[in-house]
């Protein structure tokens, strides 16, 4: 079979990170290829390169026998590629037919509304899209909106459709409908790349599957004859080196007890966190990580019980939780844990509440000490935080939060985007604190990191813990299944 798309030896680096490290991908006409992989495995980068949103460092892309290079998204669309994003690119206040005509040269300079509406009815019947051209997008459920995107791709004559996590926002019935539509598109001889984390859908609809891990192809196989367990293992990898060997000490007293934590994005999280323990929380982004961290720290309200050192804090203010010994390293450093326009000294004092007057001299002196202790490299305490590298900026947050000797630490993506040296520094500090008896909840979408640092590992999926394994019982297959939404 002649491939519709051939990508060969695709490389793309961001600084020191090799996001795509020599990837080959083939898609034949009339085939659905599942593209699997964790966050950061390189799926999105690969698709952005294909679609011309980013240029590759090296490698070739041949689409319908023609080489694509230096192309822009508009040219990719004209060539017959269509990308359907996770978040739809539709104008809600407009009707389906208006959205289809938007940016479509074939709709004519004088808009041929009625003709386009007829085309929509035709395509809608042919593929079972069940779309009314005059319906307003704002009134459509998410599943229908996605069909509008698919309709746009069909009418524009796309030969290859890329769907980026198309089922993540859909209800189960809508998922079934989508898969039916995809099968019809396949029958027509169009090629489809189906990006997902979810194994059941891959097995259900795909013809073959390509698994990416750390920017490389970790495996490829026809779907017939591959098992879920094998796919899960390909996705998470096998040889995880445990950087921090665990102290096999008996768990201490319960520091943080969470019961029935619910709210937007949270569906009943329950766990106990003990003194002298790091509970690593793995999971695909968007499964309630931000909600869990923010709710524990008091930045969002949730229902349920949070008991910190024997004291119920579910209704307490952010400041009261801090007083009670809770430290928080949020994932968002650009807006939340640092004020970029303020100085290093002011950022170290961001969460101080004592006293009416500020004492700039004392604050500067304290900031100097912390800069030394936490290895913040900058000209001085009066340097504005915006001038610092990501690693140095995060060290301010780490210093501020950990220097108070908290009894419980919530860390979310604490080492995300840092260079290896800074990552090591942050992880070492967290482990030090654990060794001195603190309890740490370490949430990260980097599974390797969670496995390396966690004394126990939980998997957050669909807003709840799918399960918790202690370190001596780590089963990557099981973790992979949990991450892929298999209870």
């Amino acid at each position: 079979m002649v491939p519709l798309l051939e990508m060969r030896g695709i490389v793309r680096t961001f600084g020191a990170v090799r996001a795509n490290d020599g990837i080959d991908l083939d898609v034949a006409a009339g085939r659905i290829v599942g593209l699997l992989g964790e966050n950061g495995s390189g799926k999105s980068t690969l698709m952005k390169l294909l679609f011309g949103m980013l240029p590759p460092d090296s490698g070739t892309i041949i689409f319908k026998g023609r080489e694509l290079s230096g192309h822009r998204p508009a040219e990719a669309m004209l060539a017959g590629l269509a990308m359907i994003h996770q978040h739809f690119m539709l104008i809600e206040a407009m009707s389906v037919v208006d959205n289809v005509m938007l940016g479509w040269p074939a709709a004519g300079k004088l808009l041929r509304r009625a003709a386009v509406a007829n085309q929509i009815r035709g395509a809608s019947a042919r593929f079972g899209l069940d779309l009314d051209p005059d319906a307003k997008v704002a009134n459509l459920p998410l599943g229908r909106r996605q069909r509008v995107e698919i309709l746009k791709a069909i009418l524009r004559g796309a030969d290859l459709l890329i769907l980026d996590e198309p089922t993540s926002n859909l209800a189960p019935a809508e998922v079934a409908g989508l898969l039916t539509i995809l099968r019809r598109l396949r029958e027509e001889g169009r090629g489809i790349v189906f990006i997902t984390h979810k194994l059941p859908e891959v097995l259900d609809v795909c013809d073959e599957v390509v698994v990416l891990r750390a920017g490389r192809v970790a495996g490829r196989a026809p779907v017939a004859g591959v098992s879920r367990a094998a796919l899960a293992e390909m996705m998470v990898g096998r040889d995880t080196t445990h950087a921090h060997s665990p102290d096999p000490r008996p768990p201490g007293a319960v520091r943080l007890a969470v019961r029935g934590l619910r709210g937007p994005g949270l569906a009943g999280v329950e766990f106990d966190l003990h003194a002298g323990e790091i509970l690593g929380v793995a999971g695909v982004d968007g499964n309630g990580q931000i909600e869990l961290a923010d709710t524990l720290a008091g930045l969002r309200r949730g229902e349920g019980s949070i008991v910190l050192n024997g004291q119920e804090i579910a209704r307490a203010s952010v400041a009261a939780r801090m007083q009670a010994g809770l430290a928080y390293l949020p994932a968002d450093r650009a807006q939340t844990s640092l004020v970029r326009a303020m100085t290093i000294a002011e950022n170290f004092g961001l969460r101080d509440h004592a006293g009416f007057l500020l004492h700039p001299a004392a604050r500067t002196a304290h900031a100097k000490e912390l800069m030394t202790a936490y290895d913040v490299r900058a000209p001085g305490p009066q340097t504005v935080a915006a001038r610092l590298s990501g690693g140095n900026a995060q060290k301010i947050v780490v210093g501020r939060e950990l220097d108070r000797a908290p009894s419980v630490v919530i860390a979310h993506q604490a080492a995300w985007g840092l260079d290896p040296g800074a990552t090591r520094f942050v992880l070492d500090r967290v482990v030090d604190l654990r060794n001195r008896g603190a309890a740490v909840l370490y949430i990260s979408s980097e599974l390797e990191e969670v496995l390396a640092i966690g004394d126990r590992v939980a998997v957050l999926s669909g807003g709840r813990f799918a399960g918790i394994l202690s370190r001596d019982k780590i089963d990557l297959g099981q973790i992979g299944l949990w991450m892929a939404g298999q209870a």
Binding site: A297, L299, S317, V318, A319, M322, Y328, P330, D332, Q335, T336, S337, L338, V339, R340, A341, M342, E346, G349, L350, R351, D352, H353, G355, F356, L357, L358, P360
Partner: protein, 340 residues
Amino acid sequence: MRFAIARDSLLPRIALAVALSLLCAAALIALSGHNPFTAFAAMLDGAAGSPHQFGVALNKSTPYLLAGSGVALCFRAGVINIGAEGQIAVGGAGAAATALAWPIDSPLPAILLALAGGAVAGSAWAAVAASIHLARHVHEVLVTLLLNFVAVLLVQQALAGPLGEFGAGFLQSPKMPAPVWLPRAIPGLDAHPGFILGVVLAAGLSFLLWRTRFGFSLRVAGASRPAALYAGFSVARITWGVMLLSGALAGLAGGIEVLGVQRRLIEGFSLGFGFKAVTVALLGALEPLAVVPAALFVGLLEAGSLSMQRQVGVPSSMVAVIEGLTMLFVLAATVRRRTA
């Protein structure tokens, strides 16, 4: 809508903006067939040519200084309060009503009481805006802006009724009792002490902003709302604080205008003051102490505008053009997009 101010090299930027606006004004004056140098000289002469004239300029600067430093505080907290216009009007009415309702014979207590009445009234009007904004989540620009019109009409209504002077052909109150008239207290100048009070209060606000925990919390809130939440500061409390403070300052500005300049409450006595206070706050880079020269600049321009018209024949409305140009240049030079 949030403002982010580019803090590095602010003063040279503002100086450049002022210079550019004067340059443009000079070009406009030249286009209208007059010599820009004589026009500016006439303006300077009218603004500071004599102690009397300079006193007038100080008096004109006073409401801009008081209300502008309050607006600066709000903007620092990310609360875009455009309501000084109404708060000044209500403050003037509050001061007049207090002075008329509780006449006191000795000047100092009489003045303090009347000014307190103005400050409380301005603060109360700001509280209306703050409560609508916080309770109903209506954008503060909308609430404060629209309440200005309500405030001006309320003051008119009061002048048509209980506060009005019976038989006067114009909407105005009776003359204030003499004890509450602000003395010409600055030696050698024909000026009331309002400007001095404004400088002291601006220094106080600057201290509040840079040296107190509350000032720190409001700067954090202005820089990033998520960071304020994370730090454990209550954005609602901060909003209340800056709104009440700036309302009190605007009310004080209205009271001083009534007691020190008009000596009665007159319909439209503060027309445009509050909007110009926003200009002045931005011209002063939202730093209360820098609002002092900014207010003085605008006061001098306005005091000099009439003499420019008399001596050179350039219409006094040219000053409004200069103010507008200054505002545009200052905004272009200092405000940058937050996403950078």
